[in-house]
């Protein structure tokens, strides 16, 4: 039972255990199980040998259960996967800690769902087989649906149903893409069908451009629902608006990341020509997401919807940077995934804690909470500044690298990674810096600073909605954060600060993985640029000797 398999089985065992114990004991059992998973995850991180080489580890061939279907139980992940695993392992206990006092009914089911989700997410991040990834990716849907549908807010059912249908259709479309690729591989090479990621990646890159176009559209289209890209994003604000605090934290911190991880691990390597051809289309969608959603955030009054829209904008920038097809952009995109997971999860926790006390998310009704809850407002301002990309915090490092990546995409051949995104994308994307400040500061001004405003019916009054309302919450004074809540949020805050000030270790880890993903694109773009008339300046740059050495340099 190697570490990787333990990482998948342990949360399952924990979940089943959660069902066994009494309602009151459920939360402690849940917490212990998730902390155990955290321990295993950190152990895996320490034992992980390929921190600097970007290679995949542990490539163990596990149980031979589904070989007839071409599905090998191959587990393996590279540095980015381990980072996301550790992020998940940290977020789940934190989200549980935050919801101890928030959730009072069906607690056994609540904590079990989180552990089910955790095991599914771990499987998704560890899978080296496309269908194994699909199993993990798809199975996160059931616990997430139940969390939003049972413990959610006022009109949680439509939100949960929309979440379910959107994600299911999205993942089925990706599955069609995978199967089309695997079947093509099986018929061409005559071998029985095989869903190994490596085989599909090698086969995918040999396909003619037109088929790669379709394959990329299918796979990326499926993940676009989860990222989410603009036209198919409307499930996210609804789901966040209705999910319980812990649900929002997990949804923003982990579930969105699987979509992006899928795009990074499967869509880009498997159909590079398709990615190149569709890059302008998806980049334009990302841009609309960044600018449009930031403006929409600016006028929201429901703070959870505001943060939800803001994560669409952030993810848009991360994906745009990935479409720049160079190491800086890809690295910025990957780091953005981790940073967004930390800062947005933190913000949702703050909002959740406030919601627990005031039972409203409307910025018009509640405000100036600095007088009432100073420590809470320190955390709130800290996470807001992290998501605002303030230098010195983690948001800045990733946003700066993303923008730099988009710029290098236009810098012609000398950087060794010529991109196809023109300068217009770069300048419009840079507006994200200012637009990002607009809505976050408006929220802070209404929520944290300014005169104290509290809901008219007094705080702690019985809340009219939701079965999980807090019963006859005695009208007691609003108290600031208690120790449990601080412990829940402290690790995220510390992580934000450390990554902001000392990003070197994480950047070194991500760089080889980013280089591997981007490697096939250099030759393709060079070929495109060579047969497309370019400005005089770039033509002689192409003849410069830098390009080939760069490509070689990047690959080893």
């Amino acid at each position: 039972m190697t570490l990787a398999v333990l990482l998948i089985v342990l949360p399952l065992a924990g979940a089943i255990l959660c069902f066994g114990v009494s309602e009151r004991a459920a939360k402690t059992v849940g917490l212990i199980a998730s902390l155990a998973v955290l321990a295993v995850a950190t152990l895996l991180a320490f034992e992980f040998p390929a921190w600097t080489t970007g290679a995949f580890w542990p490539n163990e061939e596990g149980w031979k259960l589904f070989t007839a279907f071409g599905v090998e139980f191959r587990l393996g992940t590279d540095a980015v996967g381990v980072l996301l695993i550790v992020l998940t392992a940290v977020l789940i206990p934190c989200s549980m800690l935050v919801s101890f006092s928030a959730i009072t009914q069906r607690q056994r089911g609540f904590y079990a769902q989180f552990l089910f989700m955790e095991s599914a997410v771990m499987l998704a991040f560890l899978a080296r087989d496309v269908i194994l990834f699909y199993i993990g990716y798809e199975f996160t849907l059931v616990p997430l649906f139940l969390i939003v549908a049972i413990w959610g807010g006022h009109d949680r059912r439509p939100a949960a149903i929309k979440l379910w249908v959107y994600s299911f259709v999205g993942s089925v479309i990706s599955l069609v893409g995978f199967i089309y690729l695997a079947a093509g591989h099986a018929t061409d090479t005559g071998t029985p069908i095989n869903f190994g990621v490596q085989t599909l990646v090698e086969y995918g890159q040999t396909l003619p451009a037109s088929t790669q176009w379709w394959v990329f559209l299918a796979i990326m289209g499926g993940f676009a629902v989860k990222v989410p890209f603009v036209p198919v994003h409307s499930w996210l604000p609804l789901a966040h608006g209705e999910a319980p605090t812990a649900g929002s934290v997990v949804l923003a911190g982990i579930v969105i990341k699987i979509g992006q991880y899928g795009a990074l691990r499967f869509a880009f390597p498997m159909a590079p020509e398709g990615a190149l051809a569709l890059a302008p289309f998806f980049a334009a969608l990302a841009l609309i997401g960044i600018l449009g959603m930031s403006l929409v955030c600016w006028v929201q009054n429901d703070v959870k919807r505001l943060v939800a829209y803001s994560s669409i904008a952030h993810m848009g920038l991360a994906l745009l940077a990935m479409f720049a097809f160079n190491v800086v952009g890809m690295e910025g995109g990957i780091l953005y995934m981790v940073n967004h997971g930390l800062s947005t999860a933190g913000m949702f926790m703050c909002i959740g804690i406030m919601y627990e006390r005031y039972h409203t998310k409307d910025m018009e009704v509640v405000g100036g909470l600095m007088q009432r809850m100073p420590i809470w407002s320190v955390f709130m301002v800290f996470f807001a500044m992290a998501s605002l990309a303030l230098p010195g915090l983690n948001g800045f490092v990733s946003e700066f690298l993303c923008l730099l990546g988009i710029y290098t995409a236009d810098a012609g051949m000398k950087t060794g990674f010529p991109g196809i995104l023109g300068p217009t994308y770069a300048f419009l994307a840079a507006l994200a810096l200012v637009l990002g400040a607009l809505y976050v500061l408006r929220m802070l001004q209404k929520f944290v600073f300014g005169p104290l405003r509290e809901p008219s019916h007094g705080h702690g009054g019985h809340d009219s909605h939701g079965p999980h309302g807090h019963g006859n919450h005695a009208a007691h004074a609003i108290h600031d954060l208690n120790f449990r809540e601080i412990v829940a949020m402290a690790p995220l805050a510390i992580a934000c600060l450390v990554i902001g000030i000392w990003p070197k270790p994480i950047l070194n880890v991500i760089e080889p993985c980013a280089a591997n993903v981007v490697a096939p694109y250099v030759k393709l773009i060079e070929r495109d640029l060579a047969n497309r008339p370019r400005a005089a300046a770039d033509v002689d740059a192409i003849t410069a000797t830098t390009a080939p050495t760069a490509a070689k340099g990047a690959i080893q």
Partner: protein
Amino acid sequence: MNTMTPAILAATTNLGPKFMLIVPEAVLFVGAVLCAVMGLSHVRAFRALVPWVAVVALIATFATMLKVWTPEAATAAQLPMPMLGKYIIALLCVVGVGHVLASIGSVDRAVERQVASGTGAFDPVRVIQGEFYAFILLSLCGGMLLCHATDLVWLFLAFELCSLPTYVLVAIGRGADRSMEAAIKYFFLGAMSTATLLLGFAFLYGATGTLELSAMRESFQMQAQTGGIGSVAIVGMLLAVIGICFKLAAVPMHFYAPDVYEGASSPVAAFISFVPKVQGFVTLIVLLGTVGWSANGDSSIPPVIAAVLWMIAVLTMTLGNIGALLQRSAKRMLAYSSIANSGYMLVGILAGPTIGIDATLLYLLTYGVANLATFGSLAAIERNGHEVDSIDDLAGLRVRAPMVAAALAIGALSLTGIPPLLGFWGKLDLFVASAESHQRTLLVIMALNSGVAAFYYLRLVAMPFVQEATPRTQGVSPVPSVWPRLSALIFAAGCIALPFFANQLKGEAAAAARTDLDKQATVAQSVEK
């Protein structure tokens, strides 16, 4: 004027090995008779034993099948698809046990209660439990015999043996008017479709002059090489396909399904949503085996029939799925879902012999198990004495019947194709089959359909767990007898556990799909698996 064609003579001589193979069916037949007889006995204990006799008979059949059905015996009997029988018998036995358990306690409940309380004297005429289980076993026996068919007569007889008992089951399943109406509809439309099937057989006979399937295949091969299969054969095949579509509840012939499944009692509905499908698909595979596939070498059925089947598959999937969206009654919704699943399985048939048929056979298994989990859990609950029908009755089931709610949810999730469960592997196999046989449009249509399906199956998951109990659902409670709940639970557990045996199941299905042409391959493959 030659009095007896050589083919008929040949058939009568090598009856020995064929008889050996039908021993399992014989055991089942005996079991059926026993059930019928015991059902009429005055002793209440004997009557209570009837379902258990049925179960024992099924288990015995399974055992004898394992012993009797060896590859050598199968090839000796020159069956068109030697190992198909073994797979189908195993499948029907296992799911048959589930049906029997699901219907324990639901038949003759009123009569037994009167007899137990002494208010009414026992009257053999009013008791139907015996016939009920007998007919179940007979129908299963018919389904199993289909696989032994080497000529059209046997095929037709087994076909009828399988479908006639189902008409009766629908009628006697539940005393209410609704089941009567369902029975009459089912019977008449069934009879019409069987007549069409028979006319199709007639034309096939007309085109080839023989009833022997192997002889037919050779003559079709001849016709294929010399300028294509005759138009009489094509018309015959079409009519046969249309006849079979009724059994599969495929599009032009699916209109009966919602009413009949709603009318019949839940265990019977579970039965008639699964066994006729097995019957239809086996007959279709046998017929297509003669007309197409191995017949003209490049394993493709005549384009006309392929086009018709393609249209039927797409229409069935789509109409089945979107039809289910509007339903408020759980059984009608599951009826539409069974129509849609037939559509998926037709895609397997279209994908051709090597990869398609074993995908369909495997999906039959996954559908059977998931179907019993869902229909079984409906059978296991009642609302103050009456059958639970509308979805609103399921609200908050988690509180009143946690086990049944779990079984229903797991069954629904497996039907949707949520990965770790068995349904996903069936669907994956179908997706791969259609992709490998270059049916790209079918692949996309199937994906979209399963997207739509995810929406209405979600209701079966959300109602029991997410919805709060409403005053209307106060009366909902598990059925007095424990067995329906247990059977639903067992099959729900099957949905979760069976994927761990996915390799063996796929191996069995693949073996079953091998036609007699590569005899040696069959023997080698079954050993290696």
